[in-house]
Symmetry: C2
Amino acid sequence: MMVSTRGRYALRIMADLAEHRGQDYVPLKTLAQRQEISEKYLESILKTLVSHRLLAGVRGPGGGYRLTREPEKYTAGEILRVAEGGLTPVACLEDGAEPCPRAAICRTVGLWRGLRDVVNRYLDSVTLADLIREDLGGDDYVI
Amino acid sequence: MMVSTRGRYALRIMADLAEHRGQDYVPLKTLAQRQEISEKYLESILKTLVSHRLLAGVRGPGGGYRLTREPEKYTAGEILRVAEGGLTPVACLEDGAEPCPRAAICRTVGLWRGLRDVVNRYLDSVTLADLIREDLGGDDYVI
DNA sequence: AAATAAACCTATTTATTGAGTAGGTTTATA
DNA sequence: TATAAACCTACTCAATAAATAGGTTTATTT
């Protein structure tokens, strides 16, 4: 499995905030309850989202979290890259990775680049607005 | 990161065997040396590939491993699914997964289905023959 | 000013899975 | 009969994911 709870929770929270817009700042407690995620764990995820400016956090009574842009302006790819710390399929493609000694003879690195590109292209084609509209899928998307 | 060493090693071994075809059975020892992988660990991976008939293994002197088909007849997707035990991005899409209680209200499951399909479609579009030809990439595939 | 509600911060623990080892058994060839 | 190989079961170690704990700061309300 390749997407961890950090990424999945982050996406759910962002979608939740997109759905409940207008009610300005939503406190951690409310988000944790609505999404059934432990407050403390969620807190550490939200911290990352705030530090990357995907969310704004405000302290004190009446405070909480809020989107910093319109839902159409976020892509799933951006949110996941922030929450997961990257989306590369293999270590040798992470940026800042020390060059692989087998790079010259490696028959598979091209495949990994292709996979990385396909994944990012797809995830960047879906916005937060699409998610809460929830008409994704096409093809074999049944239910 | 989402592809483990089992998948990566499996793919490298399959590509190795495709490149060294004709010299029929190649022993574990040789493969491990050529690919710089521990014999014991590789053994456990090859066992999986044999049990799924991607490779044929023959014991005794002169034995070893061999492809069971022409390289064009394997896709990277098939090899990775066997080696990794699946390629689904999230647990709730694995087959045999117990139904998620949030499924009805989940805003993200559609995205995961889409991602799963995109990944499998891409990986199934690349054959072992493509890998050893190594003209993958296109786009931003520079070295 | 005091009480309170909230985010923010650092560190630690626990659980899970990935990665790798160890040692023996069976099969086939020379 | 010796040997080269795959096959098999079980175990250990390491890394990372997941979660927890407890405190500090900031802003609002009374």
